[in-house]
Symmetry: C3
Subunit: 271 residues, 3 copies
């Protein structure tokens, strides 16, 4: 995304084509709820998942992975020990890593862990409004639920992005993304996205995949978000409920073309 | 459920409507096999899942959750440490919690853990006949398999319910539920329910969701069981095997109306 | 499989019928990514899963299970401690156990763990070419990805099979299986198999199920591989992408008949 960007939808479409062509290896330290779904989402979109989250191997793999996701959904003593090692490994190798602070603000331990990982300067932080507000020092929500509108988090997200030299991606009915200077909204999606567990978590992993094949983290986060939400619109057309929607979403993540993405993505960039 | 209950199907339908309206937060300490499925079942039926099972946070969340599920499917040192903390947190806050003693009787450690949790007076215990018989001191089955008919466990379940002031919900071709005084059977379902992993586990979580929005645990367990098994009958009509059945079950859990539930639930109450 | 085998497809079909008839209990020590999928695959094909992977219970269950799978996908301190206990329990009881060395060669710790488990003489080792080459002392691949053709691993697999008195099953576009003396290829499958996480892992569990009901591990591995890949061909006919393919694969694993398997399996045996 050059700045000013002449054609953000085209840049997003090119990013999807790059993921498909390069098939980046994405290491995920994620939670027991969404591990399978996340791997299947990555495979569908064209990336290669490796769910390695133990402290003996996390740093080792991070130094050779294309990108890394660190997700706090179900933290345990052992996986939390692995997380800073994976972050450090990615940083050493000059590879992007994404922090998804699931439930930050809602519970004490993970809020501390999220703050500590934030201090390691993630390439991108992806979360819902509650979680981002909690990272910014605001009051947290009720666990993993997004009780704050993404819009309300846009300002704090910009502050966090500047302070930590990172990109903030706030998921919601409209997604807000910022690197502290540029601000992007993505206005795609479907309400069924909130009826399937782990869509946000899987988006974090997709974000790492897109970051692995480009050099503009804001564009990567934008492209991942647009791909997920436009595919969701396609999937919702044939879905008969949340079960068939999740199945169709995998099918559409695999079939969506860069052209379709460019034509359907509703993106706005401001600086 | 007033006693005698003039209209149990209507009470069950009202319970489903209450879950949909209130969207209770259900904390699950469950196993690695069914965590995603359980979260998706809760989302489908209208509840909000939070899969928090580490000892640093389990008690903290239990004090604010609507209801708690503790499931012994894949116990580990760390998650077993979290379980009594979650149970105590729920009890402190006056919130219901459900024990699902997966595999009790089949393996030694979890049988002890289940007994210890039973001593903390769960609001509801949900299991198959083997597991309930094991809790009652009988011989256990072969692991997680339900080799005993639910009918045979009805008597021991009544004894357990009285001894521990809890509700026992025994799953089987016919489900038997009792609070030690009242006895309910639910005669819905489909054989495909036994071909999908985690239906019983997810039913435990649904039971916690229904308990969170009502004040009669036997009614809550009855309503959760009826919702799951009537939705299963609907799903089986379009299923082409266990894969498509599981997908359709999520769709039907999301779409089933209180009226459909009332019309299709085959319930019998005796005292 | 008598040797020479007059009719390998018929032997494979009979093995499937035996799994359906006997419903063997398969204990799985597997990873957080594929645990649900593996259990559902086992249920679909007619076996009974028990995902018990903690060190307090793993050996206890292995002594009564029909077969055991040990899969290294997401190793943790506690589960890695359970693995040799499960292997020893199975060996003591004279039951078959299958080693799936996921990611061996790609990461150091699990490569050591895999070598140590290999020294316990698994009945069958199932992996992709990278993993098998790593066990044979060659250079490993990039984590869990199969970057080497299964053909290239056929020779090293034969050496491993002879050295450890085990059966090696190498998954790929064409699957290669050997007990060091006999060599079988299975030429079924569909490219969609590589777009769904955990198909290989689930095949490892199916292999344990087939080994539980027969006395020829090479035949068991062949029958499991043929069942999975022929069912995949059936599933691919109706699939609209990887999501619907995975659903249809479960449906077809449940519906495929021994006759269909015999008619469609493309098997070659050489000695």
């Amino acid at each position: 995304m050059t700045d000013p960007t002449p054609d953000l939808p085209s840049a997003v479409a090119a990013a999807l084509a790059a993921v498909r062509e390069q098939g980046p290896l994405v290491q995920c330290l994620t939670n027991i709820v969404v591990a399978q779904w996340t791997a299947n989402v990555l495979l569908a979109v064209g990336a290669a998942p490796a769910m390695v989250d133990n402290p003996r191997e996390a740093g080792e793999l991070a130094r050779v992975a294309g990108g890394v996701l660190i997700n706090l959904g179900t933290p345990y003593a052992e996986t939390v020990q692995a997380m800073p090692l994976a972050a450090a490994g990615a940083a050493e190798a000059g590879r992007p890593w994404v922090l998804d602070p699931v439930g930050a603000g809602g519970m004490s331990w993970r809020t501390e862990v999220a703050g500590s990982l934030l201090a390691q300067s993630p390439t991108i932080v992806r979360g819902n409004a509650s979680e981002i507000l909690a990272l910014a020092g605001g009051a947290g929500g009720r666990g993993v639920d997004a009780t704050d509108a993404a819009d309300a988090a846009a300002g704090p997200a910009q502050g966090l992005a500047r302070e930590h030299a990172t990109v903030l991606a706030v998921s919601g009915a409209v997604d807000h993304l910022t690197d502290g200077r540029r601000h992007v909204t993505v206005s795609n999606g479907d309400p069924l996205l909130t009826r399937v567990t782990g869509v946000g978590c899987a988006l974090g992993a997709m974000t790492a995949a897109f970051a692995a094949v480009g050099d503009d983290p804001l564009l990567a986060a934008t492209a991942a978000t647009a791909t997920m939400t436009v595919a969701a619109e396609q999937a919702a057309r044939t879905a008969d409920g949340p079960g068939s929607f999740a199945v169709a979403l995998l099918d559409r993540l695999a079939s969506i073309t860069p052209d379709e993405l460019r034509a359907s993505a509703r993106l706005e960039l401001s600086t």
